[in-house]
Symmetry: C2
Subunit: 559 residues, 2 copies
């Protein structure tokens, strides 16, 4: 089948317009069904996804790229088996050269054409959501439901969001205009002007280990739709989801008569650094450690660099009229994907004098017991527990859990759980500690994984001050507050607005602080050290392209 970018734009325009409107209204909307149901995805979709994943295992991943010099691989499922997949390793020079060569044709497709192509790529990604979910599960350790939702439809929503913002920014002005300046009694001055959108160069997306697609798609699609070629460099432990993505993108591009080298895959130990410093690389999107994020910001001076790094997410408990709801909600938050989300709460501040909980008073210790007990109870059935926890993604996180137990008073130890279907899966329940507020050097930096600390403070004012200060100095993607005092809630909201972090208040039901919905929640603010950009806003897209104009006078006879 062959098609054109313009035809794809027409096919997908209605969806694009809905996405643009959702970004404006911030109301609930999604383009891609989040339930892995046969009705939405087809009767055989689950089985097809399993078969497709199985077919990748223990084989080379077929990808026709320029400059291939060898292969590499080594991914292992945190559920306990090697994937055995190898990927083509392309030479850096060849990738960059091919990316640059592909760009003029991509510019000529225009903003509409590029949006159409991107939406077609997203549509095909969505059709293969089960396959991608398996790939995400068995690289990141997410349990299947999260791997499906976060790794496929929610990630595709975030990709669509980036396309919507990019398209909106590129079409902010008309592509052509007639300018007529009156000259009193004399004929007007008339000029015809054209405004061409030009990508900045090659975009580099550096994928992370835990959310290769959810964190990778915004930068990939933002750079692509705005006219740049993109080189995708997955984290070494989570290649497959992005390799599948690159392959699908290349297929769609080729079908439109465009150069598939607009999207390529980069594999290798030092290739991220090599690419990051290339003069042709004009945009870099990165999620990962603060160390490498800072290195990129300081060294890749020729590029726009968008980073998401580490942070310390906090919750302040002042009081609640639904203690059971609060505990249930926080238990889920702390358990989901074993705390391996950039949005998971790490520190829960509780006043030493306890809190008001409905008509009763709960002491500090009672709050601690309730939280620890709540998590323990929630995870008491191993078959259910593993479906929320997923597996531990990295050796470092595994080690960190054990080390962290020495930092304070353990109120809920981390237990290893056996997975009914994957005997070699490494699964750990959350570790909960208590500490005193003064021990900030122990709890006041990111401890990635299922590690939470309940910190005893002098009172809510102390809790809020510490939470805001940690946000400013260490960064944070989320904060939470439980309070029944409307004035306090308003003051805290002001405080966290000034500190530059998203706040969730009184979550006791089915929305969790770690959740961030496309089109509605800005993920990151760009206003604190955890991230220098927000997914997605105009600032995320507007500088990935430039507008270059030409103008010519229109002579009187032609007016």
């Amino acid at each position: 089948m062959t098609t054109t970018p313009q035809a794809l734009f027409e096919t997908h325009e209605a969806t694009l317009q809905k996405a643009v409107e959702a970004c404006r209204s911030r109301a609930y909307w999604s383009a891609f069904p989040e339930m892995p149901s046969p009705r939405a995805y087809g009767e055989t979709a689950a089985a097809d996804g399993d078969a497709a994943f199985a077919a990748y295992r223990d084989k080379p991943f077929e990808l026709d790229q320029p400059g291939v010099t060898g292969t590499a691989g080594g991914e292992r499922s945190p559920f306990g088996f090697d994937l055995g997949i190898t990927y083509p390793v392309s030479d850096v020079d060849a990738l960059v050269k091919a990316a640059k060569a592909a760009m003029p044709g991509w510019r000529k497709a225009g903003p509409n054409g590029r949006a159409g192509v991107c939406l077609e790529i997203l549509k095909r990604l969505n059709a293969r959501s089960f396959e991608i979910a398996n790939a995400v599960m068995h690289t990141t350790g997410q349990a299947f439901m999260m791997a499906f939702q976060a790794g496929a439809p929610h990630a595709q929503d975030r990709g669509l969001e980036a396309v919507a913002y990019g398209w909106k920014a590129m079409t902010d002005q008309t592509p052509a205009a007639r300018w007529e300046k009156p000259q009193g009694k004399n004929p007007p001055l008339v000029m015809d002007k054209r405004f061409e959108v030009v990508g900045r160069g090659v975009g580099l997306v550096i994928g992370c280990a835990t959310f290769p697609t959810w964190n990778g798609y915004p930068g990939l699609f933002a750079s692509l739709v705005t006219g740049n070629a993109v080189i995708v460099k997955p984290g070494p432990t989570a290649i497959l989801p992005l390799a599948i993505t690159v392959k699908i993108a290349r297929e769609v591009l080729a079908e439109c008569g465009l150069d598939p080298n607009l999207v390529t895959l980069a594999i290798g130990d030092t290739i991220a650094k090599d690419l990051a410093l290339r003069p042709e690389v004009a945009v870099i999107d990165y999620t990962g450690s603060t160390g490498f994020g800072d290195w990129l910001e300081q060294n890749a001076r020729q590029a726009q660099v968008y980073t998401e790094k580490a942070g310390v997410n906090t919750v302040v408990i002042d009081g609640t009229d639904d203690p059971k709801g609060m505990v249930r909600n926080l238990a889920f938050t702390l358990s989901l994907y074993s705390g391996q989300m950039c949005t998971t709460t790490q520190v829960i501040f509780v006043p030493r004098d306890g809190i008001q909980a409905g008509p009763e008073h709960m002491s500090f210790d009672q709050v601690v017991s309730a939280l620890a007990g709540g998590v323990d109870k929630f995870l008491s059935d191993p078959e259910r527990a593993v479906e929320v926890l997923g597996a531990i993604q990295s050796d470092a996180t595994l080690a960190r859990i054990d080390e962290a137990a020495k930092l304070g008073t353990v109120v809920l130890p981390s237990r290893a759980i056996a997975h009914p279907r994957f005997p070699d899966a490494r699964i750990r329940t959350p570790l909960i500690l208590t500490m005193d507020a003064a021990d900030e050097d122990k709890y006041g930096h990111e401890l990635f994984g299922p590690i939470s600390i309940i910190v005893k403070t002098d009172g809510t004012a102390d809790s809020l001050e510490r939470a805001a200060r940690l946000t400013r100095t260490k960064g944070a993607l989320t904060t939470g507050l439980y309070s029944t005092d409307p004035q306090l809630i308003e003051q805290a909201t002001e405080l966290f607005v000034e500190a530059g972090v998203a706040l969730s208040v009184n979550l006791t039901g089915g929305v969790f602080v770690n959740q961030s919905a496309a089109f509605s929640d800005f993920h990151g603010t760009g206003a604190n050290p955890a991230a220098n950009a927000a997914l997605c806003d105009l600032a995320f897209v507007a500088n990935r392209f430039r507008v270059v104009q030409s103008r010519v006078p229109v002579l009187e006879a032609a007016q």
Copy 2:
């Protein structure tokens, strides 16, 4: 009189909407009458402006700022007299502290309120256009008509453009939303969300010597409307226009019950560097030398830095069917403000074998004679000439003219002209040289001032290649092309789009390559070394603020 930001928004909303629409349509529009006519500005406006300017001379400039430690001044009119004005010098710490303290109230005014205040400031600047024009004339050396147009209404248009883009970006999403996610048979999940626009911090505007307002207002108003406080640091030779601006801004802010320290004036030899490195300074706008612009980009790492630096603007002559019109047009371009515009053409590429000019052929030498003769004739009447040329702004430019004469073959020497009204004015007509294309080391870097080089090339292909390459390596704000070959024009347009510079084709009438109209022409592209941003686009405003959200569940009973 006192008012509120919201009331000012309502007063000015219609103008704001027109500005937003003009930015989209790129059609001709202006909010501020560009002719210094009594009908537009009032019968006494010119006299009032003269009186106001005279009243500043030989006195301290009254400005009530925090932390004043002394005074400084020293401006001299390029038309030959000292202004004798001194300005209050404020301590850096005091300025920064006052700016930060002013910000929370500015945030609370909201995007609409801030836009209203900015538009009122612009309205009052416009009312004092004659006064500002005199200040611009007698600091920059622009002749009165340019000082009026560029220094007042056109600069105000550029300020309004920045307000329009900033307002559009801040209001891109709703400030509050109800998010309802269906849950099948269960009640939906409902959240109320708020999205607060927060400025990034203190903005620093570093003014230039030649266009203190036209180049200063975009950054000033972009930072201000997006919620930042702004410290304005004028170039030492062009303080008065920006001092007047700061004073007016402070008056409007105070009338709204806002802290006037949202806008302050910084004076001093090292104060720009000191301020640029302050952690509180989050945005810097700079026009000036490449040396200091590069220093800011490399060192002010805590800030967004928007720079306009040096470049080499070129024109390629391939052929024309209106040689007289071309010569007249280029004569004006080279003469206007003695080439002291960042948009003035410096290098004119002409093929060694000459060009087709209507039915006749013109040799290279004939083209040179026509251009040199055209400029000479255009400036032959001193009374008319001084009104176009203005005066030479700096000693360095004066010296450069004399030095440059040694670089190549002089085909039109620079003459000193006496000004009928200002005996000590330093006025020079354009110097025109010819060189061979191989002498790129001589013509291929910015020679600021009335210095133009007609460069002999191997042919149009050679001319175009050199122009594009200079653009890429040295930067350019404008390029021009004269050709009667539609295919060549299309190829050249492609070439300059890829090189990232605005192109004007076949200017033979009343529009000049140095002119850049607000709402229609993007000034700079951000795609070549002359400037890292464009005035104005979404990228110029979108990262000067952040959106910080809060969300709270809506319980079933309340839905």
